[in-house]
Every structure is written in structure tokens, then in C-alpha cells.
Symmetry: C3
Subunit: 345 residues, 3 copies
């Protein structure tokens, strides 16, 4: 499925400054190397800009002062973001194909509107309630009395345990598990004793969770992911965690029991919050950053790295100290600290 737009229409929709023929027809967006004359492209940085001359792209998303050699352009503050929005215009999500696959299993008292898509071998247990236009992929399980909001999509074999709540327009990728009992164990002389977990999980609207990630139910109340939060693959969110709206959590990160992530905070890949830690609003915990139990880190817009995390600038100096300490006898090839250790997709 794809749509076409004129350069003028795109300028309006992307709030961009138009430069070139308003009527130019564009059918998609592609990177510099592969874009053709009917396609829009985008430049992220100076390196990209240098490659633009050889691109066959019909038009370019660029920053206000970029020299694009007279090529038709849409000028915006952040071309990459505008490109993301342009792709969503050119290739909107296909509509849900309403209907139940003959080989699904829906409990008689579950509420599944006719506008929903229920894939092969999907299971909707008793008392579950789906909103309008919900899509359940093959082998999904919606547990007893769970709730799924309008326009939410579950890809293949997503499991929602009994009683959990998922908001509207969420997208959960294959293999996600929401609502398994949290890991409330304590080691004793007789071995581990587990605290039964009878709370639930509440996901806000527009939440996105990556493949095979897990979000555990709370002990008493609810584990919560705020609106617009996006989680990568193989991430663990433990019981009693509260994630603010618009948070990013990268792959293989682990969020310990009762931890709190403020609005628009970021956890890099393999990052960690130990139980009851707090990452403040807008604070960025870089790749492998870790907060210890009960630690609070609140510094909007700042990046922190490492166990017992340091500000990024400190961390860079520390890496040099570290590399020198090891190289006492000068063995081995030179390894230069990396130019940009910030987290990212």
C-alpha cells in the first residue's frame, strides 16, 4: 500500500519550507543512494550532504541552510524526523482485515467487535474485551478479563495474561509477554520464597513493545507504561515499575522492581535500573548505564554512562585512564575511544 503526494502537499503536511515546483509528484522516500526521480530523500548531516550531488532523488528534506545545489527541497529543523513522518504518509499502515479466522478460539462471553481481526489459532479467553479494529496476529492469547483498546495491533503470538489493560493504537511485536508474575523472591535459609503477584499491568496509548520483550504484573497494584513509550526487543520490565510517557528503552535493558522512569527519559541498550531506582524526566542513561538500587539520577538532557553512571564527558576521560592502566607494557594494537558512545537505535 502506498500513496503519492505533490511537493506542495508534503510541505504543508510536514510544516516544511518549500523550495521548487509545488506540483512535483513524489511516490515515496528512499535513502540517497537508491532514491529515484519520483522519490524524496533526506540529508542527516554534512557527510550526507556531500553525497547528495550524486543522488537521483527528485527532492530532498534538508535543514534551512543546507546547500542542495538547486534541487527541489523541503527545509525543516530535523530532516530525519520529517523523513520518518513522510514515510508514514507514503506508506500508511494497512487497514485491519476485519473477521475471525475459522481456526481461532474466542470465549462465548468475550467482547470481540466485528471490526476486529482475529488471526489463526488466536485465543481470546473469557471476559476479555477488545476495542474496535483491534488486530490479533496468529497464536495471540488475550487472557481472561484482559482489555485491549481501539486500533491496537498484536503481532504473532503476543501473550496478555489475565486482567491486563492495553491502551489504544499500541503495537506489540511477536513474542511479547505482558503480565507474567513478577520475580518477587527472597533467598532464605530454606531456599527462595516467592511473594505471590496479584497485581496487573496497564499500558497507556500508543505504546510500542519489541519482539520477545516482557512486562511483569505488579505485586499488588499495577506495572505501568505511559503513553507513547517505545521499547525495543528482549527488554525486561519488572513488577511495580512506573514508566512515564514518551520513554525509550533499548534492547536487552532490564528495569528492576519498583523502578521509576520519568517522562521522555531514555535507557540505552543493555542498560539497567536496579529495584526502586529513579531515572528523572528527560535524563539519558547511555548504553550499559546502570542505576543501583534506590539510586536517583535526575538531569534533563544529560547523558550518563557506566555502572554507577558518570556524565558522558567524565566517562570519556575515564576510558582513557582505563586504557592507559592496562597498557603498562605497551602490548597490543591501538584502540581509540569511540567518537560517540551515546545510545541509539
Amino acid at each position: 500500500m502506498s500513496a503519492a503526494f505533490t511537493l506542495g502537499e508534503l510541505a504543508t503536511r510536514l510544516a516544511a519550507q518549500l523550495e521548487g515546483p509545488e506540483a512535483l509528484r513524489l511516490t515515496g522516500l528512499a535513502p540517497l543512494e537508491s532514491a529515484g526521480p519520483e522519490q524524496l530523500t533526506f540529508v542527516k548531516d554534512v557527510r550526507h550532504l556531500a553525497l547528495l550531488a550524486r543522488s537521483r532523488a527528485g527532492a530532498v528534506l534538508c535543514r534551512p541552510k543546507d546547500d542542495v545545489g538547486g534541487r527541489p527541497a523541503l527545509r525543516v529543523a530535523n530532516p530525519r524526523l520529517a523523513a520518518a513522518r513522510a514515510v508514514a504518509l507514503f506508506r500508511p499502515l494497512p487497514p485491519v482485515e476485519a473477521g475471525r479466522h475459522p481456526q481461532c478460539s474466542v470465549a462465548p462471553d468475550a467482547r470481540v467487535p466485528a471490526s476486529c481481526q482475529v488471526g489463526p489459532f488466536a485465543v481470546v479467553e473469557r471476559g476479555a474485551v477488545l476495542g474496535e479494529r483491534v488486530a490479533l496476529g496468529p497464536h495471540c492469547v488475550v487472557g481472561a478479563n484482559a482489555f485491549v483498546g481501539d486500533d491496537t495491533r498484536l503481532d504473532a503470538r503476543v501473550v496478555l495474561y489475565a486482567g491486563v489493560t492495553v491502551g489504544r493504537r499500541c503495537h506489540l511485536h511477536a513474542g511479547v509477554v505482558v503480565g507474567a508474575p513478577g520475580f518477587g523472591y527472597e533467598q532464605t535459609r530454606e531456599g527462595p520464597v516467592g511473594f505471590p503477584q496479584h497485581g496487573t499491568v496497564v499500558l497507556g496509548d500508543d505504546v510500542r513493545i519489541g519482539a520477545n520483550s516482557t512486562v511483569d504484573r505488579a505485586t499488588f497494584l499495577a506495572t505501568r507504561l505511559g503513553d507513547g513509550t517505545a521499547i525495543d526487543n528482549l527488554v525486561q520490565v519488572s513488577h511495580n515499575v512506573t514508566v512515564g510517557p514518551g520513554v525509550l528503552i533499548c534492547a536487552l535493558a532490564g528495569i528492576g522492581g519498583g523502578a521509576k522512569l520519568g517522562r521522555h527519559s531514555v535507557v540505552g541498550p543493555q542498560g539497567a535500573l536496579a529495584p526502586e531506582a529513579l531515572l528523572g524526566e528527560g535524563t539519558i542513561l547511555g548504553a550499559r548505564g546502570a542505576l543501583a538500587s534506590h539510586q536517583r539520577l535526575e538531569a534533563p538532557g544529560k547523558i550518563f554512562m557506566g555502572d554507577t553512571p558518570m556524565p558522558l564527558e567524565d566517562w570519556k576521560r575515564w576510558q582513557i585512564v582505563r586504557l592507559r592502566s592496562g597498557r603498562v607494557r605497551g602490548a597490543g594494537p591501538e584502540v581509540t575511544p569511540a567518537p560517540d558512545p551515546a545510545p541509539g537505535g
Copy 2:
């Protein structure tokens, strides 16, 4: 499902010292903030105790000398543990709903007693044997000739590969995979060569494995998890590993091939044992602690942190050295070492 008890009954069942009206009827347990007059609550520490005055709880689990202001009380050495046991009394696991879902697939020669629950689209392959009252959730797979003990519960889409053994009263959460071939690869000039993995996996009784965790089959013999061991989500247990009884392994930890974990040992979140490492009885490897290949660490009750792990006290000093080394030019906000870096749920 829930049950009610008198304060006197609870005192007996929890081996607690009774203080207050024996006949007081309680219907559940809740945290300080939300407990009502018919509910029991508990205090974990001094901070908690200060909040007790404002709680509406009918009675409290507390330590022998806590001042609870005359409120009905059950006094025990570890109120949190007693609370875990109380919840299990108030809300016992619901019984298995015996019967086979019409849309399951059970091999004619598999042994599935009438007391078992077989969920929709579950698969029991040839020669598999289930004990009494086993519950298989939707989309579970019990491979050929696998064995599952009495009263074990597999949540949605648990996969047991052919031939593995699971003990009694185990609980495997959604997405667990037991018995996939281990990763016995060696890099050579012609690329990776894999050692075929024809061993199996044996889980003891009362083993608990969290969502999407994986336990690989052994090369020749068996990967073993001892009785009462509890494993969190997204944990990898490699081939030939031996886990003693009553071990705790937290989320995203990886246990390398042939490693051994002694009785009642603990591996913190994102912890790691490299191949053939040994973590001794009762030894605690904190969050992100790692044992290198063939390393042995035996120190019952002691906590170790970091790669090439240090005792917790050393590690705390080391964090200060580290933070200072980075802050040569005094940039960035102050970051204080966390009060308690121990692992936990």
C-alpha cells in the same frame, strides 16, 4: 478465589506471636497505603513503620520489637516472608480445570491423565507423559517422550523439546523454551563448527522459570536445575550447566556452558557465569557480576560485584576511585554512589 482467616488461625499458620483479638477476621493482605480494616498489612523496615500510624489495616505483620501503637499484630522475624506466606493462604492458586480443549493436538500414545488441563492449540507429541493435574496453557508444546511431573503448570506457549524432564509443582511462564540444542560452536578457519547436542534437560521439583527464558539441552548428559530454583525472565542457561537446589537467577543473566551454581546461591540481574565457572553454595553474585571461564567463587553469604568480581565493600570504594578519575576537570552534576547495590527482585 480467596479465603478468610482469623488472626488466631494466621498466628498458628505463620508461626507468629499473636498480639490482639484472636477472633479478628481478615480477608486478605495489602500494602500499608491501601489495606482496609479487614486486611492484614506488613512493615519491612523503620521507614515503613513510620507510615503505619496512618494505615487503615486491621492488623500488621511486624518484627518482635516494633512499636505498632497497639494495633493487632503478628510478630515474626521476617515480616516480608510471612506476608508472602499469608498471601498464599488468602489467595491459593486456583485448581486446574481438568479437560482437553477441543482444539488441542495430543498424540494417541501420549499419556495425559484425565486430571490434566490441556489448553487450546496445545500440542503433546508422541510418547510424552504427563503426571496428574498438569496444566498446559494455550500453544504449549510437550515434545516427544518428554516427562512432566504432577501439579506442574506451563503458562501459554511454553516449549519442552523432545525428551526433557520437568519435576512436580513447577511453574514455567509464557514463552519459556526448555531443551533447545546448546551452542557448542567453535570458530575455525572454515567458519563455525557445531558440536551436536544429544543430551537432555532435567528440572527438579518446584522449579520456577520466568517468561521467555531458555534452558538448553546438554551435549551428552543433562543440564540440571535443582529443586526449588527460581529463574526470572529472559535468562539463558546453557548446555551442561548444573544449578543446585534453591538457587535464584535474576533477569537477563547468562549461565555459560558447564557452569555450576551451588545450593542457595544467587545471580543478580544481567549477571554472568562464563563456561565452567563455579559459584559456591550460598554465594551472591550481585547485579552484573561476572565469573570468567573456570573461575571459582565460594564465599557463603558474601556479595560480589563487577567483572572479575570484588567483595561488595571493595566495589563501593572502587566506584569512588572511578568516579574521581573521570571528574578530573570537575564537569557535570554530582552523582553519588548508590546506598545499596545488592541484587533483588
Copy 3:
């Protein structure tokens, strides 16, 4: 299923130097401790060799100069590799059981040759194409227009998203997800904005992926895993990654967006490449090694350890510095650096 061979036949097939009776019949391979008179065993190192005298094994795979006390022997440069090959001879993979389970769901226009095995509750969506002798385990999903090459095996509940390509003789273990949308998010003042991911995934021939691992689709083009690459459990491979042929990636490692792994490189357990990093041909990133974003590390045959990785020798010295720094006041038991911190299975 198993086969028997004479010592002479094995010598030929394993390109080994024969020592002993050519006609000796052997029915399998087992480790030193459990091998019987009809079985082959192998010695990996000097420690192993010392145990050989007590083994009941009928013959032994050993190095050219090992003293095996006159026991029938097959001498090779790498006995462990030869043992891997011998096991594959004694116990070949069982053939695919051609046929479709009555409870599967195959789209009318999908191409599923009669030589394929389609397990219970497996789903093949419209336009998908399977090669000859493909085996789909229970609950597998082959998405619309996906392609699977000859002799590839998908264990239980593997998900291939729409349009992905899997080569010949691949083996994907239970729970693998190939082709979920990559995590192309950017944090903005309005919260995360995601770049739509319309690329695909292409797996070469003989690729092996462990249980519950995930390989994301590219933004525009293809995420690629080269021929003969082997990936362990719970590994994340992000969008736009290019993995050369014959690469090894161990459990819980994360490969960031656009990273490149050269031919025959190795990533240890819990290792990481940040976005756009490059690990050169034959270079070994040890357990928990990490390359930062855009970092390049090219040193064939060399092992690197740690964040901002150091050569192994430097890293060992660094661990001693680190342990001493923490032990200022001499607390705690002695912890010795491990003998061999290299990654492994």
C-alpha cells in the same frame, strides 16, 4: 536414529591418522567417563589425557603426539572438532516427515511442496514460498510472501514476518523472531518518533539462530546474516546490520543498528556493538566486550575485552589494577583473576 562405522571408515571420513584395528566397529561417541567399548571418545587437553587410562572407550580421537597407551586411536589436529563431526556421522539429523498436520493453516496460494513437514497449528500466509524438505514445527508462522530455502528447519513457534528470506539448511530454534520492525526511534520534545521500517531480512545458507533470539527488518534495504553464521539464544540483531559469513554471536549479545561484523568474527556472551560499529574479519570481542557507536576494531585473531575494549593481555593487567584499587583496606576474601576469560560455548 544412529549409524555404526568401523575405525577405518571413520579415519577416512574424518581425515584422521589410523592407529589400531581397521575393522573395529563403533556405534557412537561419548565423553571419557561414560564411553563404553563400542564407543569412540576424545581428549581435548592434557588434563583430559590423564583421565584416559580409566576410560572404557573402544577408541580415542587425539592429537598426533598424544600418548594414549596403545588404545586404538584416530589422530587429528583438533580432536574436539573431529568429535563434533563424528557425532554428526553417528547420529545424523532425522529426515523430515513429509506431510501437513490436519490442524495447520496454509494459504491457498502459498507454495508448500509435498516434501515439506508442516506441524500442528503452523501458519503459512499468502504468497509464501517454501523450498523442498522444509520442516515447520508446531505454531510456526511463515509471513506473507516470505521465502524459505530447501532443507531448512524451523523448530516450534518460529515467526518469520512478511517478506523475509531464509536460506537453505538453516536451523532456527524455538521462539526465534525474524523480521520484526527495527527500533528506529528518536527522542524529541514531543516524545519518541519512530522511523517506519519497510526493509527486510535476508538470511544466508546454513544459518543457525538460538531460542528466542530476534533479528529485525531493515529500515529500507535488508538486515543480512551471512552463510554459516551461528547465533546463540536471546540475541538481538537490530535493523540494517550486516553479519559476514561464518560469524559466531553468543547469548544475550546485542548488535546495534547498521553495525557490521566481518567474516569469522566472534561476539562473546552479553557483548555489544553500538550502532554503525564495525568488528573486523576474524576479530574476537570477548564476553561483555562492547564497541561504541561508529567504533572500528579490526585485528584478526586477537581477543578484546570490556567496554571500550582492550586487548586481552591489557585487560588482565587492568583487572589486577582494579582489584587492588578496591582493596585499600584489605577487606574481604581473596579473588584471583580467572585463568581464561575468553568467550566460549
